[in-house]
Amino acid sequence: MIYQLGPVLFMATLSLLFGVVVLFLVSKVGPKLKPTKAKLESYESGISGQQASTTKVPVKFYLTAILFIVFDIEAIFIYPWAAVFKDFLAEGYGSFILIEMVVFMATLVWGLFYIWKGKALDWE
């Protein structure tokens, strides 16, 4: 099993090396100018910002991230089920596995309905 991940490691190293080497070479080739104070300012429509740019983030995104984790893990649970569904049908356990997934999906839909009603999905 592990030898299959050899190419993955190789490709990761390759793309990382490519990026580092190219950025290094490009930094040697390009013109060296001493940047002025105005040039180093953040590019924010001309007027320099009064506030630090990495402070406040709308909490809404945090909620989206949490909902994503909840639902994505549930979706992941469906994958192995989907892969063996036809095997179970062939073995004659079709109704069992079907009802199991119906219950699971009903829970999922209920959860979706709950956050929908709770206005967690609304953006103003």
Binding site: S15, G19, L33, S53, L89, G94, M105
Partner: protein
């Protein structure tokens, strides 16, 4: 599956070639995009440098290399440089698992005093049995470079763009994940090569113990999963941050989104990431719904017989088959990449709340419905 030195070297070289092809595809796609947009908007596009403007790419590359290195004053240096480097990785890693064609047999040969082989060279970076899971897992890492870029630039527009991008990508990943459950039920496997094999021949399936055959349709996934295909396609556009879902870089609102402070080659690396994502999504769509490298109405047996007349049996036959299938895959890929460009220059952009509503309140329920209906139909068809 032990490899000797020669086989390992060949495989390493193959990976380098695949990586190089992904990098090389970017200037070509940029050219296609510029010419295509010009064609759609009744302009000329780049047509001065070289034949059809093809050398424009080379000129652009030279320009990118000669740009001044720039880091914003308040920016976080390490993150600022790390983001573009990491941006290329998800695309490169995902392309690895895509089967472009059938394996090539290499007969035993003499080299440096000893006999090597025979080998089986797969036209695929890595033959991973959990193909889909791997591709999804790796592609979802594409959120991190965008967040790093937004944070490292220390610019409010960059940060907003990065946040939007990540929220959008994870939302649509969810819908995408549910859209493919139908495909997994139909094929009953995660293995991409097996999926392609199942799409051979005319459309046929068992219904209530009787075999149903549609001789005029290929056995492609799209005929079993039309809704799943639509959902998957839309999600892959949102995942690649392409119009009509390019909110992260909406230039009317956010200057240029997460890459506002980037220029030169670092900017190009984000583009490589984006186009890599497009290539991967298109390939996955082709494999799930359009028979992968298969040619409709021409089974592998027939093709091999046809080619035997030209190249004979053995290693040459496998090479010829592989090349024909590679060509077939590339033609399908180009069609889907063109659809990406076509959509970009035809549709207007969504508003952000509409975008999130579409993801959570439309795509997600429809994905669930698709799963449910597929499950019921497969169950009923089994009888």
């Amino acid at each position: 599956m032990r490899m000797d030195a020669m086989e390992a070297a060949i495989n390493a070289l193959k990976l380098v070639v695949i990586f190089g092809m992904m990098i090389q595809a970017v200037p070509l796609l940029v050219w296609l995009e510029r010419r295509g947009s010009a064609f759609i908007q009744h302009r000329f596009g780049p047509n001065r440098v070289g034949p059809l403007g093809l050398l424009q790419l080379l000129a652009d590359a030279v320009k990118f290399i000669n740009k001044e290195e720039f880091v914003p004053g308040k920016g976080h240096r390490l993150l600022f440089f790390l983001a573009p480097i990491l941006a290329m990785m998800p695309g490169a890693l995902a392309v690895l698992a895509i089967p472009f064609s059938t394996p090539i047999e290499i007969a035993a040969f003499d080299f440096a005093g000893s006999t090597w082989g025979p080998y089986l060279l797969k036209v695929q970076g890595a033959d991973i049995p959990l193909g889909i899971i791997y591709i999804f897992g790796v592609s979802s890492l594409a959120t991190y470079p965008l967040l790093l870029a937004g944070w490292g630039s220390s610019n409010k527009f960059s940060l907003m763009g990065a946040l939007r991008a990540s929220a959008q990508m994870i939302s649509y990943e969810l819908a995408m994940g549910l859209a493919v459950v139908g495909v997994m039920i139909i094929y009953g496997t995660f293995y991409l090569n097996e999926m392609i094999d199942m799409q051979q021949g005319p459309m046929n399936f068992m219904f209530m113990g009787k075999e149903v055959i549609f001789p005029y349709l290929p056995n492609w996934g799209i005929f079993y999963q039309p809704l799943g295909f639509l959902l998957f396609l839309v999600c892959s556009y949102a995942e690649a941050n392409r119009l009509p879902f390019d909110l992260p870089e909406a230039e009317g609102e956010l200057v240029a989104g997460y890459h506002t402070e980037y220029g030169g080659f670092k900017m190009l690396m984000f583009f490589i990431g984006e186009y890599g994502h497009m290539i991967v999504s298109s390939s996955v769509v082709i494999i799930f719904y359009f028979g992968g490298y298969l040619i409709p109405f021409l089974s592998t047996e027939d093709l091999r017989q046809l080619l035997t007349g030209f190249v004979g049996e053995g290693a040459m036959l496998s090479l010829a088959t592989s090349l024909v299938y590679l060509l077939s895959f590339i033609i399908k890929l180009v069609i889907f990449l063109w659809v990406f460009i076509w959509v970009r220059w035809s549709l207007p952009r969504f508003r952000y709340d509409q975008l999130m509503d579409l993801g959570w309140k439309t795509m997600l329920p429809w994905g669930l419905l698709n799963t449910f209906v597929t499950m019921l139909l497969v169950y009923l068809a089994h009888g």
